[in-house]
Symmetry: C2
Subunit: 347 residues, 2 copies
Amino acid sequence: MRAAVFAEPGKIEIVDRPDPQIVNPTDAVVRVVLACVCGSDMWFYRGQTPYEAGRPVGHEFIAVVEDTGAEVRALHKGDVVIAPFAYSDGTCPHCRAGITTACLHGGFWAYGGMDGGQGEAVRVPFADATLVRIPGSGHSDEMMRSLLSLSDVMGTGHHAAVSAGVKAGATVAVVGDGAVGLSGVLAAARIGADRVIALSRHEDRQRLARDFGATDIVAERGEEATAAVMDLTAGVGADAVLECVGTDQSMQTAFAIARPGAMVGYVGVPHGVEVPLQSMFFRNVGMHGGSAPVRTYIPELMEDVLAGRIDPGRVFDFETDLDGIQEAYAAMDERRAIKSLVRVGTL
Amino acid sequence: MRAAVFAEPGKIEIVDRPDPQIVNPTDAVVRVVLACVCGSDMWFYRGQTPYEAGRPVGHEFIAVVEDTGAEVRALHKGDVVIAPFAYSDGTCPHCRAGITTACLHGGFWAYGGMDGGQGEAVRVPFADATLVRIPGSGHSDEMMRSLLSLSDVMGTGHHAAVSAGVKAGATVAVVGDGAVGLSGVLAAARIGADRVIALSRHEDRQRLARDFGATDIVAERGEEATAAVMDLTAGVGADAVLECVGTDQSMQTAFAIARPGAMVGYVGVPHGVEVPLQSMFFRNVGMHGGSAPVRTYIPELMEDVLAGRIDPGRVFDFETDLDGIQEAYAAMDERRAIKSLVRVGTL
């Protein structure tokens, strides 16, 4: 099969890799239809985190089941499925508690010999537990794009909202206007936030944020952003804050704009962050979040996508095919794209 | 009036201070009956935090209302009241959200010219909002001690449990066996935790922890404590962790024994703590807590004290009067006492 692999910083290439085969009886082999590039893929692409040459890439995909192991019960050849960005057994204590990204036997695509999502086929462990079948057929391309976003960004934005304790009627602030931040805006609005303040500097992203439910836009950064949010909230701060970047500045802003007693739901992998512990203590501002257990969220979010209530696929503003994978990365690296869609196969 | 003041590290003395008078129409002047010494008082007593010579001390007390300002409605001369460790106006957005320790117009006893609780009388701002009247009369000394604990330690232990998201049926671990940690054990059991693992090295405190509802005791520290809790929870970790110390070691232990997805409820003022952010992210372990809004909790906790369902006053294992204040501090400093009660006046 053909699959994208990392060559060197700034270079992703298509190579031939062995066709995946069933190894364990709980495996499925799936043929990838839609994949995409993640903001987190930029780290190795930019050489900011180590990545071996020749290692596959990609962790978000929609696929068709091609083959199933003897113990796979819920899935059959031809089923169209969403793969969350991590696989999980569904039975360990952490999976049963909904934290599938901490599965005792789980792992991540393209790690430890696993196939990547940006390739023609993938061996999926614990297929029944990992994959979610998309009911029905003939879904529009727009809907398929929204379903693809449930692989990661929409589930991650939702996790930020859940971790921040967003409730109906709340005033929510979202730090970050990448695909995850925008998904966080949509997630907060979906839960019923009365007011969603999006911190965004880019006009096109501000527009999408408004379409997703943002009621206010703050274009400032740092202390000016804090002042703007405080001004918008009569000096009180936000009831819940979604931190969707992971830098020290964005995290400091998130804590500063949270009202006393509030939670910061954070899903940006922290890089060089110093947590303002004294201020958190005396203001009773907490933090919760991390690697989103999107598998847990896919069913409820899929229901809303299929009903047309949310359209998170609008974060994809660039598309190509497997041969264009280099450009899919470059467009995001150069911030020409919020998120790149990669058409790998057909249904 | 006679009141305790800080003289120098290791020395608390009784001096004459002006009798408190009504200043604002929302003030009350109260005559202190019972006071106590807090673990946090040890910081200035030991010279670990700066404190001016001659400044009053103490922030936990039960008192009798002596005089009220023209706008005080709910309280009358002769009422017996519990004072939380912070005063608050009850009307600002943070008070209305229950975070009374972040009151826009509130503050702390013995700060900024306020009287301290370890003295014969106190001027209380926003008396209607700050003080909680104890209904009935003729309560036993045991019950009065339990009511006094609602000024701080029991409310603070409860705040740790609430911040950690303790639910009925949960497995809870409590780090710290001081008065707050023991109160946290009681709070977790009160909420209905199925299992309460108390991390305690002292036999007398282990006994009280068991009386308060601890089902398991872990006497180890550091990595051995983590291993012991993991062993007790079949490798899963605790559903909720109460951190009631504030040192780096206790905080690291708290995060290490929390199961993925769990919260650490922390109420020990952090000293030299480095938050394990990467591990928190990848295990989805959050933290929430801080300066406890005990005013918010007093009514519900008082109901349980008056009904005899909880007896948090058992944390007082040393008592004296105002003349013995030096010994009240020394007993805690030398760890001869968990918590010192100070009898200041009579009902």
